[in-house]
């Protein structure tokens, strides 16, 4: 029960930076792991690798557009690049980066030893990995998806896209959907059911809250795109007519289904970053989050309204004045809970003692930059003005301020913030500062000029533009900006890799934060909590360390009705590594079966491709064989004991 003040970086803790005895190492320990922390780490590494892939795609795109009539890549390659850049960044980078934090943090933040279904969790990761590889590989054969990340029908039907490109996209997204849905069921159960004694819903750390909302968005939004993709898949492989022009199909069916998913997806991408910022800002202001309740309710409100605004992506399709009005008004409403969040973040810092660590800078940058993205969002919530903006670079600017300025900045802050928790070592603040400023300046230099090029008439998704259209300067600036960001990314990767070995050793409570995950050693032992803590407030660790500060506050203090487990003890800080076996904590067995189940599932889907290669027997053999292997692995999984 240490009650020391927050140690400064570099101070040697009792057991930081080394795994306890009995911790598995080696490749097998990763392939067979069911530990949420290791799965989180796998997500993090994989998603960062895809981030580099997506970044390279963006870089080539910008090189092509640096000058008018660019000749760097062909139209066909460019179309594949922008499709894959969007798809990669949304489905293979930001969502899994969020998933990395869900995995790593949710059990730690709610005082659980693992997620509800550890093996399902491993399955989600492997499906994601194989699905991501499945979608990325064809880019090396010039057959990458080329219908845009939104895949509007009828362009994506066989009539107009006969190659395998779209097949990879359709199947890949289906596979990734399975991963996201499985993970979402898991986290919903975890958060509802695995909270430590006393961790009421309104005492949950705000990151867990935002993640909780995201899981609901996932399970309610993904079915819509699943069905849209099923239709497209059936059209392409089995000759149905859902998007067939000649049969009288309505292309807006695709658009509605896609955006019923697509708009909540935006909040799926941004809310985890909001949650991370909401952890970082209080920690480095030494103040609790301002208006916790309102932050929670506004998050719920955003999630709820997020399902009612999808058609603002479709103002140009001619829905009619009434529909335009309804969706416009609903969209403006979303500005309200979003604005509240911004004000509450500022109020959190107000009156604090702000320490400008790299993590804090990224979090502040999120507030500053998301504000711009939010404002430009309101600017095209008005359909008449949107008709001059939609499908131009103005929109590109808008959503990059939201997704780069918001999501990526928040996630980067989260990485700097939680790196010591994950590895037991701090990332270099010095290199981190360079990274931050290069990202911040590069990001603004890239995306701010796009507001201008858009309003000055530059359409999106064009591989070249003519001389003298008034866009040269802005495009040149954007390209320089991407180069600056690229430098920042290189520094980040270097910092990320190097700090694992040479970073300053971090104690359990690396930053003087208040939530449960900081009350255990860094990196956490495999069982997380030797004894489950009984939680009596939103910032239990602060209550422990500064009881004088929090006395008498509404959310703090024990409640009479706390149900506890025999393993639970009053809130305390753990600093020692012990063996799970010594503590008598049953740990789930490592198992390779989820990996194989995921592998066969992905292979089964990929069998569909052979239908379009006119190898129907091959397709059938692969699909039936893999289905049998899938069922076999699943059977093995379900019948083997968990722990």
């Amino acid at each position: 029960m240490a009650t020391t003040a927050a140690p400064a970086p570099g101070q040697t803790p009792t057991a930081g930076g080394s795994y306890a005895a009995g911790e598995q190492t080696g490749i097998w320990s990763w392939l067979a792991t069911v530990d949420h922390k290791r799965i989180g780490t796998l997500y993090l590494w994989t998603a960062l690798s895809f981030f580099i892939v997506g970044g390279i795609e963006a870089f080539i795109i910008r090189l092509q557009l640096m000058r008018p009539n660019g000749q760097v890549v062909s139209a066909e390659v460019y179309n594949q690049l922008f499709t894959m850049h969007g798809t990669t960044m949304v489905f293979l980078v930001i969502m899994p980066l969020s998933a990395a934090f869900f995995n790593y943090l949710i059990p730690l933040q709610i005082g659980a030893r693992d997620v509800a279904f550890p093996r399902l969790n491993a399955f989600s990761y492997w499906v994601y990995l194989f699905g991501g590889v499945f979608m990325t590989i064809p880019i090396f054969f010039g057959a990458a998806p080329n219908g845009g990340w939104f895949g509007y029908a009828p362009l994506t039907t066989m009539q107009f896209s006969g190659g395998l490109n779209i097949d990879f996209w359709v199947i890949g997204l289906q596979i990734l959907g399975i991963s996201s849905l499985a993970a979402a069921f898991n986290f919903i159960t975890t958060i509802i059911n695995m909270r430590a004694p006393g961790m009421t819903l309104m005492r949950m750390p705000i990151f867990t809250w935002m993640s909780f909302i995201v899981q609901f968005l996932l399970i309610l939004a993904f079915p819509a795109i699943t069905i849209a993709l099923v239709f497209l898949q059936f059209d392409r492989f089995f000759g149905t007519q859902f998007y067939e022009i000649a049969a009288g199909a309505d292309p807006l069916l695709w658009q509605h289904l896609f955006w019923v998913f697509g708009h909540p997806e935006v909040y799926i991408l941004i809310l985890p970053a909001f949650g991370l910022a909401s952890e970082i800002l209080p920690t480095f202001s030494k103040k609790p989050l301002f208006g916790y309740n309102v932050m929670v309710y506004s998050g719920i409100m955003i999630g709820f309204l997020g399902f009612g605004v999808w058609a603002h992506h479709m103002f140009a399709v001619g829905m009619g004045a009434t529909a335009d009005t309804i969706f416009s008004m609903a969209t403006m409403l979303i500005g309200i809970p979003t604005g509240v969040k911004i004000f509450n973040w500022i109020a959190t810092m107000w009156g604090g003692q702000i320490r400008f660590t790299v993590a804090m800078k990224f979090a502040i940058a999120l507030v500053a930059l998301f504000t711009i993205g939010g404002i430009s969002g309101v600017m095209h919530s008005s359909p008449p003005t949107d008709l001059q903006q939609t499908d131009t670079y103005f929109i590109v600017a808008h959503f990059h301020y939201v997704l780069f300025g918001g999501s990526i900045m928040g996630i980067m802050g989260g990485i700097y913030f939680y790196y010591p928790k994950m590895t037991g070592r701090y990332m270099s603040e010095k290199i981190g500062n360079w990274h931050f400023w290069l990202f911040f300046i590069g990001m603004n230099l890239t995306f701010f000029p796009m507001h201008f090029s858009g309003m000055l008439g530059m359409p999106r998704r064009i591989y070249s533009y003519d001389v003298g259209q008034g866009w040269e300067t802005f495009n040149f600036q954007s390209t320089i900006g991407v180069m600056i960001q690229g430098l920042g990314l290189i520094l980040f990767v270097y910092n990320f890799l190097k700090s694992k070995k040479t970073g300053a050793v971090a104690p359990g409570d690396a930053w003087g934060a208040g939530t449960l995950e900081w009350s255990i050693p860094s990196p956490p032992p495999e069982y997380n909590f030797a004894q489950l803590p009984v939680v009596t407030s939103r910032y239990p660790l602060w209550d422990l360390k500064h009881p004088e500060m929090t006395a008498g506050l509404a959310h703090s203090g024990p409640d009479a009705m706390t149900v506890t487990d025999s393993h639970a003890t009053p809130m305390h800080e753990e600093t020692e590594y012990k063996n799970a076996a010594d503590l008598g904590i049953p740990m789930p067995f490592p198992t390779i079966k989820p990996l194989f189940t995921a592998l066969f599932l992905v292979l089964m889907f990929s069998g569909l491709l052979f239908i379009h290669l006119d190898l129907f027997p091959v397709a059938l053999t692969i699909m039936i064989g893999c289905a049998a292997a899938f069922v076999g692995s699943l059977y093995g999984w379900l019948t083997s004991p968990l722990e």
Binding site: N186, T189, N193, L220, F222, P223, A224, F234
Partner: protein, 249 residues
């Protein structure tokens, strides 16, 4: 900080086969919550499918149509046979949906929900001695094997009806490739049928376990309970489909 640390927390959970049972915040088992979340997601799945069907209703360019008379050689379409003009009798396409037949299968599926309720009740009360003088009906009520099998058989019967329906539609010229109605109808009802099939397999698995070692105790009740949740959900979806696709013209 002085919250009482209950040490007896285990007792209330440690039923079943005596294995270690984790503490949960709600007292509910994890799997049950997960199934509820899954059902929430499935609602959106079927909502998307049903919406598609409704959006495409009346957009097909060629017949057959669900409730209307059509003609194989022309685009003529009419509410009744008499109103259909200029079509030789050989080319007439009658409305494809057969409501009386589907009403029968709907009834069977609804009854299977009842059987499912009784199966769950039988597992829950297993071990309770039958009252003195219990007749065959009481013994029947107490047999989880019987009700599980009954549910599965009724599910399978529904699937039998569905395959009959599909085959006859194909004979009448409606396939998944024919028109928008065919695509959206077969995909929607096919998805539902796939769910029923999964449910039947699930029920048969439970039946097999019941035969092998007997379903008993809290853990097994949960196994049957989540299957029942799923089964009732699949039924409710069918009621929505039957109403929106078959009954409303």
């Amino acid at each position: 900080m002085a919250t009482a640390v209950a040490t007896a927390g285990h007792d209330s959970h440690a039923e079943g086969h005596g294995e270690h049972v984790h503490y949960t915040s709600t007292g509910l088992e994890n799997r049950k919550i997960a199934v509820w979340a899954f059902i929430g997601s499935e609602c959106m799945l079927f909502a998307s499918l049903i919406s598609t069907y409704l959006i495409y209703k009346g957009r097909s360019r060629v017949g057959p149509w669900p409730h209307e008379w059509g003609c194989k050689t022309s685009a003529a379409v009419a509410k009744t046979r008499e109103l259909l003009q200029g079509c030789s009798p050989a080319d007439v396409m009658k409305p494809i949906l057969d409501i009386p037949v589907t009403s029968q299968s709907t009834f069977v599926l609804l009854m299977s929900s009842l059987a499912m309720v009784l199966a769950l009740a039988a597992v829950e009360t297993k071990g309770t001695p039958l009252p003195a003088g219990a007749g065959w009906w009481d013994r029947c009520l107490a047999s989880s094997k019987f009700w599980l099998m009954a549910t599965a058989v009724m599910g399978a019967t529904f699937l039998g009806y569905q395959s009959y329906e599909f085959t006859s539609f194909v004979h009448e010229g409606l396939t998944i490739k024919t028109n928008l109605f065919g695509s959206s109808f077969f995909t929607l009802t096919g998805f539902h049928g796939a769910h029923v099939t999964a449910g039947v397999l699930w029920l048969l698995t439970l039946f097999a376990i019941d035969v092998k070692r007997g379903l008993k105790g809290k853990t097994d009740v949960l196994l049957v309970d989540i299957c029942a949740l799923y089964w009732h959900f699949v039924d409710v979806v069918w009621i929505a489909i039957f109403t929106l696709i078959y009954l409303i013209q």
